[in-house]
Symmetry: C2
Subunit: 363 residues, 2 copies
Amino acid sequence: MPSGPTGKPATIYDVAALAQLSIATVSRVLQGTGPVSAKARERVDQAAQQLNYVPLRAARSLAVQRHEAHGLVLPDLAGPFYGDLLMGYERWAGEHGQSVVLTVTHGNPHPAKTVRDLASRVDGIVVHGNALGLGVIQDLRRANVPVVVVAHPPVTGCDSVRTESAASAEQLTTRLLDHGRQELLFVGDPASSYDVSQRYAGFAKALGARGLKVPEPERVPLTEAAGAAFAEQLLAATAAGRRTGSGGPDRVGSARRPDGLVCANDELALAAVQTLRDGGVAVPEDIVVTGWDDVMAARYVSPGLTTVRQPMAELGRLAAQRLHERVSGERTRARNDVLPTEVVLRQSCGTAPGDGNNPAVND
Amino acid sequence: MPSGPTGKPATIYDVAALAQLSIATVSRVLQGTGPVSAKARERVDQAAQQLNYVPLRAARSLAVQRHEAHGLVLPDLAGPFYGDLLMGYERWAGEHGQSVVLTVTHGNPHPAKTVRDLASRVDGIVVHGNALGLGVIQDLRRANVPVVVVAHPPVTGCDSVRTESAASAEQLTTRLLDHGRQELLFVGDPASSYDVSQRYAGFAKALGARGLKVPEPERVPLTEAAGAAFAEQLLAATAAGRRTGSGGPDRVGSARRPDGLVCANDELALAAVQTLRDGGVAVPEDIVVTGWDDVMAARYVSPGLTTVRQPMAELGRLAAQRLHERVSGERTRARNDVLPTEVVLRQSCGTAPGDGNNPAVND
DNA sequence: TCGAAAACTGTAAGCGCTTCCATTCTGATT
DNA sequence: AATCAGAATGGAAGCGCTTACAGTTTTCGA
């Protein structure tokens, strides 16, 4: 709401009056539409400058029937991924003249209402799969709002973009098996998000390919606390196992003590590694551990955490682009994009080539 | 832009027609303003429901002369701080019916233009100090846009919120001195941000209080790469020193080899520690290192990184609140808030009480 | 039963901008 | 000098909403 130093913001009428032209001409000059004489251009520019004038978006939006803004709905902003996603998104949007209106659903008591409200001030919405239930997404579609879902299985009428998960999980798991691990456990609840379910699917596929029994996932939240708690549980079971001999099945998912943990994210993995080591279990010798996301800590801890890197900024960029294509009507058919991920081998999986701080090894 | 399944979005006229009432009554029902009969309320609610109607924000904004949105300008979203800040902000804003329009300036070729544009679609703007030059901020003020600056020295006519820096830096530095360190170096460029300059000021004050000479800061960017490079330089100087005896001054800031590094952020500190250890220098025995921000990695590395935690979410929350107070006119006088920080002692400074993983110790 | 007050509803005037359409102006071409 | 195409400009109609104001109905006390 810019204005001269005094009073209310200047309007296009003020500019027109000062430039002694009609508002139509002022608009044409400012938007660069239609033919205008050099003289008019100059007068308008000067008047606008002098009055500190900027067109009111609400009025423009109302007239052109478009907001020139995107809505972005994220579950939260913890961890680096959402930040990177957001940066990639904002960057693309900014370069294409679209504003980004952000909404975070975690802790929001009325996500449906909030998103509906959001829909009334943007031209389309990008929804992260962990942020909203399918119902809300379908409501949006029903209201004819262009929607792109991220990290979510394709939805009729929506574009989708996500990162590849199953294949990398399978590859990672296979690598652990190749190096002699026998009792792997998947840590993290596949029900918590589509991505995690895909990771578990890849994990299961790798085991299945060897004819191994696929253990149930350890259904814990994807948090440090849960990782630590789970590791404590393992330690307790191990201690109990030691006391009673190697006899009966312990309480931790697998019938035997695991020699490898495939964790659904780095938080889980980092906390688990630390807790295990504190408890006297050697990583990677006694048990290997892998994570997902490649957070900064993953390359600073010792042993370095083997993990999977996702192109979050690129994901954001692509989501913005796909939404814009829809909004502008330059594409009608839905697209479903999957971006490749990258397995980053470090010492925690016991199979890293070399021993330095492997920045990235693509298998 | 909601709508019925077919055609264009429903307008208030459609609702009025269906409910057989005037648009005025429809508006009153939907906004809960003015008196309406139960019958009218019901008819309108049903019609709105049936038509999937949501008022167009642009039209409302135009009519009420307010956007009900805040602009937030951040330098980037790397690291956890900005994410936390943003979450705190969005949370408060959401709870108070304000949308958040985000702009990231890093890499933006025309920040001034972008921000000006932003100003035309929001009621006020929160600017992070690292995101924009003072000139742009003053431009906004000149255009009568309510502005709150974050992590920036107070600006005439703007509210400001920031975290305390100098005192914690002084406290941290004093602690190192108390434990026998003699040659401390400040790593990071005070010119890069107000916060960093404050941290250096605190560092300098602590040294000055002991009558020690205050070394020039090591003016490097606040990145992992810079931290590693600086540490490499230290190692080289040390090696050279060994070769030539302990004679001449080396190239690294201090006249003598430092026995402590006060780094401007955790990225610098983490990279420095890793590089030093790889080079055979013991941390904290040979040299102590501290960071700033308390990123996740700080508590997973070994030795744990001593650092300073800032209440970023709270900072965001407060910024949102201050802006809203200004926008709504409920406060006219500028306020300048400073939030307390918390020194987190871990092993890297060689003075942590106990040896476990100190979650947080407030001195 | 009447009248006044209260409750409710509708009419219409904007909010500031874009854009269609008509009009005026320019200068080149006959 | 008359004509005309095209460029430049202005008038005016919306875009969908809020809200003063006026009009209509209801309620309720006397």
